[in-house]
């Protein structure tokens, strides 16, 4: 369960958001420059809010009252960047393995096999290639594999489909949905595409000028709208 309430001053407005997310895919929807990426950064620990709190599964990542701000590396949150941010000097295999450090066998959890993740995302044949040799869709899958290899408790995706052609976008939308059901962790997907919203979101957070809106006049999903 992700619980958060964050405030952060941005150059033109203040980001002011609060919500809880148990599971499923939540879309953060809004125009460019609405503070969507900043919200993801605040959750992941890449930016420090000015106030509020961020809790995931009862662990406090940020609390302005208790002066807690856990660095990103300890949050165990997967993050897929808008331009994928694959390390260009490493092969796909090394990229995917980057977040894997030793065996996490303490609480009887099993370590993921790289091959399983690569196969799940259909990129096994790409493992010795460099990011510069991949198509947009392939890069997206590698970025997903890299984030999932760390066994995150929450996955954040910043405009994951925006740079892809229509065919790849439709396919990846379906795969993202399947992936979320398979992994059973909450996904937060930033998008400004209404098609993505309809196809992917179990819930929607509409963001404009840093404020969340509970109602949208055009009839699209309301804040925390629950799909049937």
């Amino acid at each position: 369960m992700l619980e958060l309430a964050v405030r952060k001053a941005l150059p033109d407005f203040e980001l002011d958001v609060d919500f809880c997310l148990d599971n499923g895919i939540m879309a953060v929807f809004g125009p460019s420059g609405a503070g969507k990426t900043t919200l993801l950064h605040c959750i992941a620990g890449l930016a420090e809010p000015d106030g509020g709190w961020v809790k995931l599964n009862d662990r406090t990542f940020y609390s302005s009252r208790d002066k807690v701000n856990l660095p990103a590396r300890f949050r165990n949150i997967g993050y897929v960047f808008q331009d994928y941010a694959l390390f260009p000097h490493m092969t796909v295999k090394k990229n995917v393995l980057y977040g894997v450090r030793g065996c996490k066998g303490k609480d009887n959890r099993y370590k993921l096999s790289v091959l399983e993740v690569l196969e799940m995302l259909k990129i096994t044949h790409l493992q010795e290639r460099y990011p510069g040799q991949l198509s947009g869709g392939e890069k997206q899958r590698v970025a997903l594999a890299r984030a999932l290899m760390t066994e995150p408790e929450l996955l954040l995706l910043d405009e994951p489909l925006s740079a892809l052609d229509d065919g790849t976008r439709v396919q990846l939308r379906r795969e993202l949905k399947e992936l979320q059901r398979q992994w059973d962790i909450p996904f937060i997907i930033v998008t400004h595409s209404r098609t993505d919203l309809r196809a992917l979101a179990d819930r929607t957070l509409f963001l404009a000028n840093g404020k969340q809106y509970r109602q949208i006049n055009n009839g699209y999903p309301l804040f925390m709208y629950e799909r049937g």
């Binding site: 331009d83 977040g99 065996c103 790409l126 493992q127 460099y130 040799q133």
Partner: protein, 241 residues
């Protein structure tokens, strides 16, 4: 015809040492300036770049004031460690380091600035600490800039004349580097010796610049498609169903 090759050995020794010092401190400082918002950043930046625009004799004079017997650093070093810097080969190393430092710093800074902050952020979300981010992401991607800085700093250190002459003097066999040997050989009319050293230093500088220019080409060749090698496991398994 036999020439005294001690200036060549000394020059290489001085230039290598100065380059190593510059590479470590220049990259470190460039990283700190790139990464943190330091107070007085613009002033510090100006001071770092000053040796680029100041005449080497001015730098030599300043170093002489610092490291001379009555200078603050010279006095401390002599009293505490009984070490004298002026007119030793260490003086040549210091002069070369100070003069070459901006070359290294500027190149390293440009190299570091070329690394996308998203890549460093991605490494952090994958559990990497700052040191690991630097070693595995920032440094390898900034490497072309750092390597250029190393090449430029080495060439500049090898050719350093004015500041070296003022701080280290011209003592054959002890502080006489190639540029000093060229100047004093030419001045005394020994054009053959001067020509010999000119040839050597031109050859080395040519090789450094040639290597720097051709390096990115060989780097690109690394990322050619390679075949997969089957299973890449991490030892344990997890059921995903």
């Amino acid at each position: 015809m036999a020439f005294d090759i001690s200036p060549i050995i000394l020059s290489v020794k001085v230039a290598v040492l100065a380059t190593v010092i510059c590479a470590a401190t220049g990259t470190g400082l460039a990283w700190a300036m790139h990464r943190f918002k330091l107070p007085g950043k613009n002033i510090l930046e100006t001071v770092i770049n000053l040796p680029l625009v100041l005449p080497p004799t001015v730098i030599g004079f300043g170093l002489l004031l610092l490291f001379g017997r009555n200078g603050p650093l010279g006095f401390v070093l002599e009293k505490l460690f009984n070490v004298r810097i002026v007119f030793t080969w260490w003086a040549a190393v210091i002069a070369s380091t100070v003069v070459s430092f901006p070359m290294m710093y500027r190149s390293a800074k440009a190299g570091l600035a070329s690394v996308s902050p998203d890549l460093e952020q991605a490494a952090r979300t994958l559990g990497a600490g700052e040191w690991r981010v630097f070693l595995t992401v920032t440094l390898p991607l900034a490497w072309p800039g750092i390597l250029t800085g190393i090449g430029l700093a080495f060439s500049r250190a090898l050719g350093e004349f004015g500041a070296t002459l003022m701080l280290a003097g011209n003592i054959p066999g002890r502080t006489q580097t190639i540029p000093l040997a060229i100047f004093f050989a030419a001045e005394s009319g020994d054009m053959k010796a001067a020509g010999f050293f000119v040839f050597i230093i031109t050859l080395v500088s040519f090789a450094v610049v040639y290597c720097l220019n051709s390096w990115p080409v060989s780097k690109k060749a690394v990322s050619k498609p390679q075949g997969g090698d089957g299973y890449v496991g991490t030892g344990c398994q997890k059921s995903l169903t």
